[in-house]
Point group: C2
Chain length 315, copies 2
Amino acid sequence: MSLSEFKLIEKFFNVKNKAAFPAALAIGDDCAVIDIPEGQQLAVTSDSLVEGVHFLADSDPALLGHKVLAVNLSDLAAMGATPAWLTLAITLPKADEAWLEGFSRGFLNLADQHAAQLIGGDTTQGPLSITVTALGLLPTAGALKRSGAKVGDSVFVSGVIGSAGLGLLLAQQDSTEQYNEDLLHYLKPMPCVELGKQIRDLASSCIDISDGLAADLNHILEASHVGAILSDSLLPVTDGVEQYIQKLGGWSWPYSTGDDYQLCFTCSEEQEAKLQNMLKGYRVTKIGEIEKELGLRVRLKDGQIQPLTKGYQHF
Amino acid sequence: MSLSEFKLIEKFFNVKNKAAFPAALAIGDDCAVIDIPEGQQLAVTSDSLVEGVHFLADSDPALLGHKVLAVNLSDLAAMGATPAWLTLAITLPKADEAWLEGFSRGFLNLADQHAAQLIGGDTTQGPLSITVTALGLLPTAGALKRSGAKVGDSVFVSGVIGSAGLGLLLAQQDSTEQYNEDLLHYLKPMPCVELGKQIRDLASSCIDISDGLAADLNHILEASHVGAILSDSLLPVTDGVEQYIQKLGGWSWPYSTGDDYQLCFTCSEEQEAKLQNMLKGYRVTKIGEIEKELGLRVRLKDGQIQPLTKGYQHF
């Protein structure tokens, strides 16, 4: 089945999806043109997914469409930004209508949930890879940076940690136990957009966990010139991950697996009561504390303290 | 040689390149954060280059870095926008320092020429492909759209047409005649950013020629609900292209080859004198006229009129 590039775009992507901030000019010209509301800054992020690296060959295209957008919205969430506009560059081996139907459905469904408008992009022929650029709005000077963690701040994570990593193992094993919670966390991560906006004015620093809690929290520590100690007994994990850790016989595994797309953030003692009160509707867990001593450490269940550094490395 | 993703970014891309509009937050957090000056809109475009499709394997990485940025700046030029910020997503088979050094040099050199700041991106492992998102500024409601061409307007092109197409043939033949003007037009297209800004308030419509003059002018005609007739004798071509057409024995070849990255635009009779006066420093050629009759036609040198529709099709 062969369609021209322009017909493909028209058919699957030139739809009027929900837009909280409709573009002055969307798909169909050389550029999209957008207006930034007064008093707002623009948050910009780009992330790619590549077949065989970020997802398995023959992945469900609808889940893939969801995921490539989710990982970008997760970056906006980590700044406390409101998603507004999206561009989508797809490279695919052939113009497969069934694939494009599924992919666009997964992508646009999540876009609609956040009223983020698809305003442009590119489709090209080649090995399957997808790059999204997501644009979000932030009150001026309101961005939730990595660099604000202070000694004495508490360290929080949203959701559960390591679950998507276990889901990946299940997906690779082609497990018959379809769609348990770990597999679902891997296949269909939900970006913490609302949480990011809620904590924006209360948290002192924030990052989304894409490369593993250890690696990503280390980015906060390096940007803030501080260290941290976590309590292993406080780490929120699923039953599946708990069992998997016991089987492995170690403790460090969930700290180093990627793809969770939860938020890790810090909060000062003064703001903590307000934050805890605001977050009653969310699963958020305090797992440790910022310290002066550089580096990241974990207090194990037996009281022993171990250093923690590794995360997912792309090369 | 293996470097981690973060060290790669740090080494080659986390440089302070020239910025006409410095970002509030650039590379190093979950998102970049930018301020849009009052009275300005943001123009947004994304374009990908894929090895084997848009460029030959073993292409010079510096030329590739230049080209992937040039094709995006060309889209901004076609709207009359001023380049301001860039994101860069690179997928590459391995972390090859020599390749990255060349690529980043070519990319950042052109970025510096336009004082466009690299504010973020992604590096991933996989088959070589590159996606750039370029953000530019436009006075509010000043965008140069495809849809404004009117019956009686003149049709103009910048530079020469078909030259990059001939350059591609030379590159494929691995010609010993290195770096003639056609090869250079293909390898190192120069986006018409200044020209786009000059004509923004005078032209009635504009597009950049990436898929061939016929295909791209047809986009203007469709968006504007008009037709056009061109004079083949007026088409600006290089000596190389002139000789190649004679060898082929046809006439239509330069209208359908891609990669020129010139601007094609229309202008009303009332604005034409002002436009011509403003463009004395540029190579710009009037090649035809907008007509009521839909479709694109060419008056050949013998007076015969032929229809013209085809351009480069990605699938």
